[in-house]
């Protein structure tokens, strides 16, 4: 709740910067605001308070909103160029912060009305930001496609909520679970559950609802893509998990097989299509789809490990993505394109960037001792212990395919030669950011218990 209030105020302050002309101060102000929010949010640990019967700030909510705020702090450092170039930077700040507030609602809701509002508050600024490069056709397409498909998915979600309300007479996720457990819910409940599953699967870009993701991720400006791949995905998965863990656990027999098939399809479709891509940005987009598949394993498992393992996974994946999109932004700017070939010979011209990118990609591929390895390990263990051995086998095969395309970039950086070599200047704060993310990736890989043990 403190995080929500602080973030909303920060968004309004960002809007006021235009009027009272303290635009120059806004960037440090937002950074300080995020640090303050992180600290105040951490104070809520262990309190488990319920606000207005609408939001429940339990440890799950505090842990996930800490991840969201922490990752958005890293994102703001990475994306500083995004806010410097444009004349309407205050609007960008406000939109990003509002969507972060929506993300915080999505991890702490206890009522379907709040879930829907959270998703919309997160999504609507994202539709705008995806299309914010107005003179770029691809960006326009991304914004338009995201808006149309997102609105369609919201329709499914809303229809599902309405049917569930009709069947159980409540919007409260605990009350719904109790009504269903008492056997008092009519069969419309299951139709509602399926429709909500479709809506949520769209938001996390799980197959077969992932077709929007590659186009949107490729067309959107790179910092916005990084935001969508990290914050939006983390919030959507936390909301997905909270909904199914608290509300639909009793009816797991209905949906487990659907989610199992969905997870398998997502992992295979994401990884196999990623292999075929020549654009590194599009490849990372498909890899993001594939990672949604791995995270669905935690949802399928639905045991005591799933919350901790998804927390660990979202953190490891977000840190890896921030780094890889940050390096991609530099390379694409220097070489004028985001093809895999533009990474050729990066290790010679800029060994620092190449090393940072290698660590991030190793983490995304799940190679020890990086964070990604333990994230995958814990999530696979959770699914295995829930008795989904076949799905874990598919996941391991899919990860092996994943290693292939992540190594394509690493090989391009270290073993291939480029015709025109450009030295890339990395700004000091980005150097600091990359050092932090690399250290974080390795530290999480060495001490995963610190995060896993939280939930």
């Amino acid at each position: 709740m403190k995080a929500l209030i602080l973030l909303s105020s920060l968004g309004v302050i960002a809007l006021l910067a235009e009027i009272f002309s303290f635009k120059k101060l806004l960037y440090p102000l937002v950074i300080i605001g995020l640090i303050t929010t992180f600290i105040f949010n951490a104070f809520d640990w262990g309190t488990d308070r319920i606000y207005f019967n609408m939001m429940r700030y339990d440890d799950f909510a505090v842990a996930f909103s800490s991840v969201l705020i922490g990752v958005s702090f890293l994102w703001f450092i990475m994306a500083d160029g995004f806010f410097k170039e444009e004349s309407n930077m205050t609007d960008y700040f406000a939109l990003v912060i509002f969507s972060l507030a929506g993300a915080v609602i999505m991890v702490s809701y206890s009522n379907m009305a709040m879930l829907f509002l959270g998703i919309e508050i997160l999504s609507i600024p994202m539709y705008v930001l995806a299309g914010s490069k107005k003179d770029d056709v691809l960006s326009n397409e991304a914004g338009f496609k995201y808006l149309i498909m997102g609105a369609f998915a919201s329709g499914f979600l809303l229809f599902g909520i309405a049917l569930i309300y009709g069947a159980t007479g409540s919007f409260d996720i605990v009350e719904i679970a109790q009504t269903v457990a008492a056997g008092a819910a009519s069969s419309i409940f299951y139709a509602g559950l399926l429709l909500m599953l479709v809506g949520m699967a769209f938001k996390v870009s799980a197959a077969p609802f992932h077709f929007w993701a590659p186009d949107v991720y490729q067309g959107a400006p790179t910092p916005v893509t990084a935001y969508m791949a990290t914050i939006v995905k983390t919030a959507a998965f936390a909301a997905f998990l909270r909904l199914f863990y608290t509300c639909f656990q009793g009816s797991a027999a209905t949906w487990t097989s659907i989610v199992v098939v969905m997870a398998g399809l997502t992992m295979l479709a994401g990884n196999i299509t990623a292999v075929l891509q020549t654009s590194a940005k599009r490849m990372l987009a498909y890899s993001s789809v594939a990672h949604a598949g791995y995270m669905l394993l935690g949802l399928v498992a639905l045991n005591q490990y799933s919350q901790g393992s998804i927390l660990m996974y979202t953190l490891a994946y977000s840190v890896g993505s921030i780094t890889s999109f940050g390096v991609l932004g530099y390379v694409a700017k220097a070489k004028g394109g985001d093809a895999v070939d533009s990474f050729n010979g990066l290790a010679k011209t800029n060994p620092f960037l190449a090393f940072v990118m290698t660590v991030a990609l190793l983490s995304l591929a799940g190679i020890p001792p990086t964070a990604g390895f333990f994230a995958k390990y814990y999530i696979f263990t959770a699914a295995f212990q829930a008795g989904h051995a076949w799905l874990v086998l598919v996941a391991i095969l899919a990860s092996l395919i994943g290693v292939y395309y992540y190594f394509r970039i690493i090989i391009a950086m270290y073993f291939k030669h480029s015709n025109h070599e450009v030295t890339i200047e990395v700004s000091a704060n980005h150097k600091l950011l990359f050092v932090i993310t690399v250290l974080l990736t390795i530290a999480l890989g060495l001490m995963p218990d610190f995060v896993i043990g939280l939930l």
Binding site: L4, S8, Y51, D91, A113, V128, S132, S186, S187
Partner: protein, 166 residues
Amino acid sequence: MITQYIFYFLSFLAIMFGLMVVLSKNPIHSVLYLVLTFFAIAGHYVLLNAQFLAAVHIIVYAGAIMVLFLFVIMLLNLNKETEPHKNVWLKLSAAVAAGLLLVVMVGSLKNAEMIAATNTFDPSVGLIENLGKTLFGEFLLPFEVASLLLLGAMVGAVLLGKKSIK
């Protein structure tokens, strides 16, 4: 008894106009049929004792949003000739997917039993007084949070609409 007849009549109108929205070739006709569908649904709201919702539904949907639809259609100048032809397989798969959704809906409705009304009839339930009390009591937090949504949407619309100053 008479409410039941009205219910069936309104349902018939809503479904028929809904079909006409999809089937009519001219987009302007589609929009006008959609207005009629909204009126039929507003009638359902009145039957459910939600008078305020019915009035708002007509003002907002049939009034404001449909005018917006008409404007967009006229600005885009859509007519029969410019309608793009879709792939047959695309049409077929869309029909199969929508048909499956229909099967799920019908199946779940078939098994659903009627729940007897638990609370006694209260004619004032759909009036603004009760609505306001619920909105500012039980749903206070979502009501306040919705302001974030509207503010975000407004800022976004302005951002997309204004010319970037170089």
